[in-house]
């Protein structure tokens, strides 16, 4: 091989560089789902826990367009057989009233920084 003395160290550096995230995190704590403080007075959310965990951000995104732009006000929950205002503050944070013990725990653990509360007021 021509230039093996350059190519091989080059490949090694490349491989080290590409696997950086793996060995950098060696020995680091494994991700564990944060403990959330759930509202005491309510048994279930407006949709299943799995759905809310995976989809709440999409749901809120849809809600804001429907509420602000399309004139919808309420969300009919098949699970609870009840209507709720399509509102972060009036519905979600009515039950989950402690942002730090609920919203923030997961958001911090997964390093996302939603800007909802730059404008919406936390209870």
């Amino acid at each position: 091989m021509y230039d093996a003395n350059k190519i091989i160290p080059g490949l090694i550096i490349f491989a080290l560089f590409m696997t950086f995230p793996f060995w950098y995190n060696l020995g680091a704590e494994a991700y564990s789902t944060p403990e959330l403080e759930l509202p005491e007075d309510y048994e279930r959310c407006i949709e299943s826990t799995e759905f809310m965990r995976a989809e709440h951000m999409n749901m809120l995104d849809e809600w804001r367009d429907l509420y602000v732009r399309e004139g919808y006000q309420e969300y009919w929950s098949e699970l609870k057989q009840e209507s709720y205002p399509m509102s972060l503050t009036k519905t979600c944070m009515y039950c989950h009233s402690d942002k730090e013990e609920f919203c923030d725990r997961c958001h911090n653990a997964t390093a996302v920084d939603p800007y909802c509360w730059d404008c919406h007021i936390e209870p």
Partner: protein, 251 residues
């Protein structure tokens, strides 16, 4: 056997067809609903009765609006206002003259005119400002990028820009939790209380005005606003510009 398979496929085909035409047949599902109390109109319009309004009432209207919508009071020329007092001569300078009796310096209420042909909507690059079917020119603060084209476009100065974080000028204990504040770099203005109408309530300033401000459907010949416009003399601001403003002033 053959027959029943044939039946099954037929039935499945019909069901799929029916489903695609009317998905709700598949059973009620979670989803958005409009409020049963929603107030509807073909064209919302406001009529301000200058005879009935006085200084105290105007202050009440302004306070009701600004309180409800968490509008800060910033003590310099970068203040935010949705509804405010303006002398007659400023509002109607193209329809008045220097020797006008009485009215010249009398303050009137000024707010967004929810124009039928709104330049602010036309220039907004993100559709953060848009016209609803019922004529309300509404803002979606989520989308506003703060380019201020709309402020250049609006010939009435109805819009305010947030030069600062408005929360710095709002008392935390006084915030109305049901309505968000804005953030720095966002434009705001009167929204004809569209979200109150959607839930079945009249605009806050109308409620506070003790009958001096009327609000109703301009397309309904029997509505209060149409009646009073038939009976009394009224003005709109800068009619020559062709924006077709929908806030009427009874003189």
């Amino acid at each position: 056997m053959k027959n029943s398979r044939r039946k099954f496929i037929k039935f499945a085909g019909m069901a799929a067809l029916g489903w695609s035409i009317c998905p709700s047949l598949a059973g009620a599902r979670s989803g958005p609903r409009q409020s049963a109390d929603r107030l509807r109109a073909e064209r919302w319009a406001m009529v301000i009765d200058s005879e009935k309004l006085n200084d105290e009432l105007m202050d009440k209207c302004i306070e009701a609006c600004h309180k409800l919508h968490n509008v800060p009071d910033i003590p310099n020329d970068q203040n935010i206002k949705w509804i405010w007092k303006e002398p007659f001569y400023n509002l109607f300078h193209d329809q008045s003259h220097g020797y006008l009796k009485d009215k010249k310096s009398i303050p009137f209420l000024s707010l967004c005119n929810h124009c039928d042909n709104p330049p602010c909507v036309r220039v907004c690059p993100t559709q953060a400002t848009f016209s609803r079917d019922d004529g309300i020119v509404l803002m979606d603060f989520h989308r506003c990028i703060g380019c201020r084209f709309c402020m250049a476009g609006c010939p009435y100065g109805s819009r305010s820009f947030n030069y600062f974080n408005p929360r710095n000028f709002l008392d935390d204990d006084q915030l109305v939790h049901d309505y968000p504040t804005r953030e720095m770099g966002v434009v705001e203005k009167c929204e004809f209380c569209a979200h109150l109408l959607d839930q079945g309530d009249m605009p806050a300033c109308v409620e506070a005005s003790e009958g001096a401000i009327l609000f109703g459907d301009l397309n309904d010949p029997n509505s209060d606003v149409r009646k009073v416009l038939r009976e009394r003399y009224s003005l709109v601001r800068k009619p020559k510009l062709g924006t077709d403003p929908q806030v009427y002033y009874l003189i």
